[in-house]
Symmetry: C2
Subunit: 256 residues, 2 copies
DNA sequence: AGACCGTACCGTACACCGTACGGCTCAGCT
DNA sequence: AGCTGAGCCGTACGGTGTACGGTACGGTCT
């Protein structure tokens, strides 16, 4: 009944690896660090689905099973990949706080940095949803992103909620963008090309009789964005609304 | 170079299946409909990863390869599953428009219905990100959700952006909730249990010296939600901010 | 009634995945 | 010089999607 499904990471093992000091070069140059780096490179070059133990090993010129001497399993390896990627985010823990524009400028900076992170490492979006084993870089990220919200009039719980909302928006938009890019790459067709090629069929489907508003709005949005969806626009549009909503909350807190 | 990666759906085939009238009972009772239904049941009962061609076939008391007579491949099957699930959403195309509270009440209704959809069919969250082949039910959904936004002062493009923002928020929150539930189920531990059991280690990590704000806020949020994150709270908190931001936009449009 | 044929059905096979197990090789210490 | 323990890895198992080729049956025409 308590099935251990498949390649799930053991949180305790991951934590130990994440915070431990692994510096045993071995006799064929294999290290936890080198394995994780190879896996990340592979993920960015050929997508997360290409990250198999066999492929990572091959990239390192090493037998598949050798990896298991340094890493308990694939799940833990993925946890390590995530924290490594988080390391790119901020130069130091006060980078967001240093931004001009107060909490608003800081949140815009945080959103932009996270957006860049996901654009550079699209594989994270397929992985984050699994769990969040908090390694050193993830912890630093949390601290760095919370600091500019400290002392603006929000409660501690509200600070967490506000940050979570902004991050959730960025992640969701980045996911859409990544999927769109992937589909285009796989099909070799841009959104526009796909749309015009399937237009006759879609016209029959989306006839203005049954779906008047949808066909009108879909048409307008499609022409405006030259695509089914425009992630960059969705990012700024959504962020603007969200920040306005947050500003109202803060104003209310400070007024009372 | 133009690699067909794995089990990706061919959009054209999916569209044909989605809109076509497939009603050929075959000689062992096998139908596109029955296959899709079995797959959805399986996904809800044992998770999306349990939906393999073999398992679906077994559930139907049929050989694995027999499915391929009715469905081109797994990708297309998943597309069919998604549109089937969308069928649960609204009784008719004017259900959201009938809600009290104007556009705001309608959007809250839309958010609630989509939230329920994802809670009932968590597998959709692992699938949606793949692509969005628009079947009949998806089209009806789009129309139903846009109608209450028609004539409130937004441009057509803004209507699309506003709806996308709300749906994106719900989906993102539902994803977090589903992952949390899955982790708890797999580990047999609630968030609280996990937290207290890993507390000593986490205390050493999140010491108030290096991460003062994070440890303080994390503590407060954890105690308030009795979990690492509280999806239900995140849903309403975020929706409130977003709707406030949208209200500001609409007010600006109507003032000018 | 008998023959035919298209389609539904399915058994087998292939290439991939994660990883358990057991054996080999060699660095470093005694 | 000899031993030991750790690094390394070849093989094997059960899972995946699906290509291929063969079987068996329902409906139609003679």
């Amino acid at each position: 009944m308590s099935a251990k499904k498949a390649s799930d990471a053991d949180p305790a093992r991951s934590l130990a690896l994440l915070w431990g000091s692994h510096s045993k070069p071995g006799r064929s140059g294999l290290t936890v660090r080198s394995i994780v780096l190879a896996a990340v490179e592979l993920a960015n070059a050929e997508g997360l689905e290409a990250v198999s133990m066999r492929q990572v090993a091959e990239r390192l010129g090493v037998g598949t099973m050798s990896l298991y001497t340094h890493v308990p399993g694939k799940g833990e390896l993925v946890d390590l990949m995530v924290d490594t990627a988080y390391g790119e985010l901020y130069d130091d823990v006060d980078a967001p706080s240093r931004q001009p524009g107060g909490w608003r400028g800081a949140l815009e900076f945080v959103a932009a940095r996270n957006w860049d992170l996901y654009r550079r490492n699209p594989w994270m979006l397929q992985v984050i949803d699994a769990r969040s084993t908090l390694g050193p870089n993830a912890s630093l990220k949390y601290e760095a992103e919370l600091r500019p919200l400290d002392g603006v009039g929000l409660t501690d719980v509200e600070m967490d909620s506000v940050l979570a909302l902004v991050l959730s928006h960025v992640q969701s938009t980045a996911r859409t963008a990544a999927n769109q890019a992937r589909v285009q790459e796989e099909s070799g067709m841009t959104d526009v090309e796909w749309w015009v090629s399937n237009a006759p069929l879609l016209d029959k489907i989306m006839d203005g009789t049954r779906f008047p508003v949808a066909s009108r709005v879909g048409q307008a949005a499609g022409e405006a964005h030259q695509a089914i969806s425009d992630p960059a626009h969705a990012l700024t549009f959504g962020l603007d609304r969200i920040l306005a909503g947050i500003a109202a909350l803060i104003a209310g807190r400070n007024r009372s």
